[in-house]
């Protein structure tokens, strides 16, 4: 009972600042009014004040003598893992990173196996493809990759701040759409990174038990779609 009450009252509330906002507050990067509003909130909200304290703990982090040997060896290990050439183009960095991560490499290995299996099937069964009776004229493309999303997906304990996904090799831009369950578009954006902040106006529409959909499409240098995620669903737990 006591723990539940403390959990409920000390977790970030709907009026709390996001981690990003607290960062900008700490740097004095908000507008004058926003800065004053944030200061007043942090002054009365122990949750946001603690978030700010965490930020300061990071900024003030200096390696302690007892940590020195461990940190030095850990840094050496990270550098050894980093086979990527720092300073390559953003695209090149993404590609090398993509293969650097073991779990993604494993996922891609599995995808290649499935691709070979599928190709073998069609080569051994050379029948003509069935065509639909009618074809939608809008935006049909051939996509060989799927964008793996990080989230939000499923029930959320708090209003999500951003949409995140895994990088796609060859993608230079991502197009993101947030939709109502009837596929009516609420908001869309085009970004170069693998995440995008959800604007406050859209976040305000994320209310308990209301399901929203989102989808991300990876685009190459010519703006051609090369991969697409599934239509992901999420909602704020009621």
């Amino acid at each position: 009972m006591e723990r539940e009450l403390l959990n409920r009252t000390l977790r970030p509330g709907s009026d709390c600042l996001s981690i990003d906002q607290i960062g900008r507050f700490a740097d004095g990067a908000l507008t004058g009014t926003e800065q004053a509003t944030a200061a007043a909130h942090i002054d009365s909200c122990v949750t946001c004040a603690s978030e700010l304290a965490l930020l300061h703990s990071f900024a003030d982090t200096a390696v302690r003598p007892e940590e020195r040997a461990i940190v030095d060896s850990a840094v050496t290990e990270i550098r050894r893992r980093e086979k990527v050439t720092v300073g390559a183009t953003q695209r090149d960095r993404s590609i090398v990173r993509f293969w650097e991560f073991g779990r993604l490499r494993n996922a891609m290995s599995m995808a290649v196996v499935l691709l070979i299996a599928a190709a073998s099937y069609y080569l051994l069964n050379p029948s003509s493809p069935r065509l639909p009776a009618s074809v939608d004229s809008g935006g049909e493309v051939t996509r060989s990759l799927a964008v793996a999303v990080r989230g939000p997906v499923g029930d959320q304990v708090a209003v999500p701040e951003r949409l995140e996904w895994q990088p796609v090799t060859g993608a230079v831009r991502y197009s993101v759409r947030v939709m109502e369950v009837d596929r009516r578009e609420l908001w869309s954006a085009s970004v170069t990174g693998t995440e995008v902040q959800i604007p406050d106006a859209v976040r305000a529409q994320i209310v308990p038990a209301k399901t929203l959909l989102w989808q991300v499409t990876a685009l190459d240098q010519t703006g051609r779609p090369i991969a697409e995620s599934g239509v992901e669903r999420f909602r704020l737990a009621g």
Binding site: M1, E2, R3, L5, L6, N7, R8, T9, L10, P12, I19, D20, G23, R24, A26, D27, A29, S44, V46, T47, A49, S50, E51, A53, L54, L55, S57, F58, A59, T61, A62, V63, R64, E67, I70, V71, A74, V75, E77, I78, R81, V84, T85, V86, G87, A88, T89, Q90, R93, S94, R97, E100, F101, V157, P167, V191, T192, G193, T194, E195
Partner: protein
């Protein structure tokens, strides 16, 4: 190069990202912060192997997302936001973790009056009242420890390390004293309301 600020390094890098000079600029930028990120991750995880994985994730994310950095905030703040979000994901993923035996003992040893008094708050605006009482009766460290533990699901040993608490029993002592003070404050609040 070493006299340049983080933000200046990034600005110069963006002038010619493919140039050899730019590679050195980014090496310098990340070299400056690797140890800080690793140390912070080590304090959070208390385990070298986990710290390496977490720090590598954070640095890789920062590296591949550098184009999204806006110079309106400091690079270290931006790096922190990435690290904090990554760590928050970890915390959410382990929300089903079994509670620490030490916590169980600590709570069972406390007077039940605290439970009763706090339970009485539920029908009211509990959040606002608990925050006000904490601001009124707890010192800054007690507030931080309580909030990081109950609001952000951090373990006591993590809080001890991240906040650099040097007392013998670390965060545990602050939880005990904070609850004792809150207990008394809630009783007074009950008496006045």
């Amino acid at each position: 190069m070493r006299e340049l600020s983080d933000e200046d390094l990034i600005a110069r890098y963006r002038l010619a990202p493919a140039a050899e000079q730019s590679r050195q600029l980014l090496e310098e930028l990340f070299r400056r912060h690797q140890a800080r990120v690793v140390a912070w991750c080590y304090r959070l995880t208390g385990d070298r192997s986990q710290a390496v994985d977490l720090a590598q994730d954070v640095l890789a994310k920062a590296y591949t997302s550098l184009d999204s950095f806006r110079s309106e905030s400091k690079f270290t703040t931006w790096l922190y936001v990435i690290a904090r979000n990554r760590w928050r994901d970890e915390l959410r993923a382990r929300q089903v973790r079994p509670r620490e035996a030490e916590e169980e003992l600590m709570e069972s040893a406390e007077p039940s009056a605290l439970n009763d008094a706090l339970a009485a708050l539920q029908a009211r605006d509990a959040r606002a009242i608990v925050h006000r009482l904490m601001n009124d009766v707890l010192d800054e460290t007690e507030k931080r420890v309580m909030t990081l533990h109950y609001g952000h699901d951090m373990r006591l040993d993590e809080i001890t390390a991240v906040l650099g608490l040097t007392n013998t029993s670390g965060a545990k002592a602050y939880i005990v004293s904070a609850k004792r003070k809150l207990n008394a404050a809630v009783k007074r609040w009950n008496g006045n309301s």
